[in-house]
Amino acid sequence: MNKKIKFLLNCFTVFFIIVFIQVDVYAKNNYEYINISNPFLAKIPIAIVPFKDITKNNKGDVVLLNNGVDYLMGMLKFTGFFNILDKDAFLTDFKNTGVISSSINFRQFTTVGAELLITGGEKKSKDGKLVIELRLFDTFKEKMLIGKQYEGQSSDKERIIRRFAGDVIYYLTGKKSVFETKIVFESKISGKKNIFICDFDGKNSRRITKNRSINLSPSWSSDSKWIAYTSFNKGKPDLYIRNIKAKRGSIINFKGANISPSWVPGKFMLAASLSFSGDSDIYLLTGTGKIVKKLTNKWGIDVSPSFSPDGKKMAFVSRRSGTPQIYIKNIYSGNVRRLTYEGRYNTNPSWSPAGDKIAYSAMVKNDIDICTIDIAGKNRLKLTSDTADNESPSWSPDGSLIVFSSNRNGHSRIYVMTSFGTDQRILFTMKGEQTNPEWSKSIVLD
């Protein structure tokens, strides 16, 4: 209890944020800077000046040794939107670049191609708190786009910088950043498979299931408070619904297999494949495991549901035509249509947050690749190639990135790329084999 109160107090006192200049944020924002649905998006060149000590004046004469620039750069780079300029390119005389407009020679940055500039300053308040000022400038217009001052404990530095980075992304793209989101995945070591959660950038992974059995295919609820997964902990595949903060939840253990859960957006409801009738079909269930209705009714394999953002349609995998293909069901009319025709093995559908595309795994020749396709079934785009097996795509909540698993370097690991297939990179390395990542659909508080 004490802990809880302390936590709440922290939340209130730590983030005493003074937005001292609110240029453009609410007034007009047409996101002319970054349109994330543009596949030919050029990276915006951005310069970030090392944070300065502003105890004496706002110009900031002294460069801080332990400043958060690398942390900020790491986050911005992760998005794939920026080309972060090398410090050496513009910092011939960086001591003369202050943190406020009047102390910045913008031409120094425009000549090296920087279109955006971030400055930061730090000082201690009278009562010993940490005060950080962060600003985003348009170098060509010589204009401040965002200016914020934050006050908190010195241990809050990373959180403050993360919040500012989120503001920068929101200002430039009109979408919430991924910096407060998390990724759930499974990891297998010597035959035992467990569920883990890590930050958006692969850091701070922690184990969620703690048994010596097989736990797999985790799925986030849309409010990111619950995960559902399948576990063999009691001998057969059952569904576990679990609140990630509190120790509560339920087990769905009908006769036969209870697998492949996927939450309905905005509801405490999920779809899953159950085989108690003797044949595997997808059912709509409440979060406590009561069957609401049967969603598929064909003999064969029906698995891997994924809902459209409005919850009105469901993509899923079915073998009704003889090979595994992706189908879309209209939940209200009951109509089902086949989405994928190319190839003999298309699985793992993941509906994009914008609702216009579906990412999936396709077997192409002898490899498995990640593809995206319009919901009309057109414009199939292969995002990975010649890199062994790439599976289980899942969109970041802003739709700009896709997380997936790949065994391109032998072991299966978690990778991230932009939703157009660029900037493919490994997210982290850990022992064992990591598979089935799913990006949270919103901010995760834990």
């Binding site: 797999l216 595949p237 394999i301 995998v317």
Partner: protein
């Protein structure tokens, strides 16, 4: 395989032979002593001696018979054990991304059926497995279908469905963790376990 069968039948024939020998020997002894029982008891000593000999012979025969029976029992146990082992270790294999039963699979399942109908008191778990190709969730579905194909086949041959439970492990429990066609072929299987 055929050699094994030959040895087994030879063993059976030998056991049977011994038994016939033992049974046919038994009464002969009794017959030969029977007339002497009616003779006066003058030579009681001899009679007693004969009785003792007879008793001894009977005991010897009984021991022999018990030994033979024991041997037979052990031989039968061995056959049973071997059959059980074969039932458990011999998997039924599937084609890539398929759950229909190939001719070979059906032949193997007939052996399973033979064993099952002699062991109706046992509960069997039919495990469906897949190779590592393809996706986790779909493979869980595919493993389930493989187990279902096998279960249905056995029920159609007359096995009580209550004896047969199915479970899918998808691609989670490979027998060969390799990433080669031969490893994949080994992993696309239905495996039997006894509950």
């Amino acid at each position: 395989m055929q050699e094994k069968l030959f040895i087994k039948s030879l063993l059976c024939a030998m056991v049977c032979g011994f038994m016939i020998f033992a049974v046919s020997c038994g009464p002969k002894v009794v017959k030969s002593t029977a007339p002497e029982e009616v003779v006066e008891n003058v030579e009681s000593q001899d009679i007693y001696q004969d009785d003792a000999a007879e008793e001894e012979e009977m005991n010897r025969q009984r021991a022999l018979e018990e030994q033979l029976l024991e041997e037979q029992r052990i031989a039968e146990e061995a056959v049973k054990k071997e059959a059980l082992e074969k039932f458990i270790t011999e998997n039924v294999y599937f084609d890539y991304n398929e759950f229909f039963l190939t001719e070979d699979a059906q032949e193997r399942l007939k052996d399973k059926w033979m064993w099952l109908k002699d062991n109706m008191d046992i509960s069997v778990i039919i495990e469906g497995h897949c190779d590592s190709r393809g996706t986790t969730e779909y493979n869980l579905g595919l493993g389930e279908k493989r187990a279902e194909s096998v279960r249905t086949f056995l029920i159609d041959l007359g096995i009580d469905g209550a004896m047969l439970t199915k479970i899918s492990y998808g691609e989670e429990k490979p027998v060969d963790p390799g990433n080669t066609p031969s490893a994949w072929a080994k992993n696309r299987r239905v495996h039997f376990t006894i509950e």
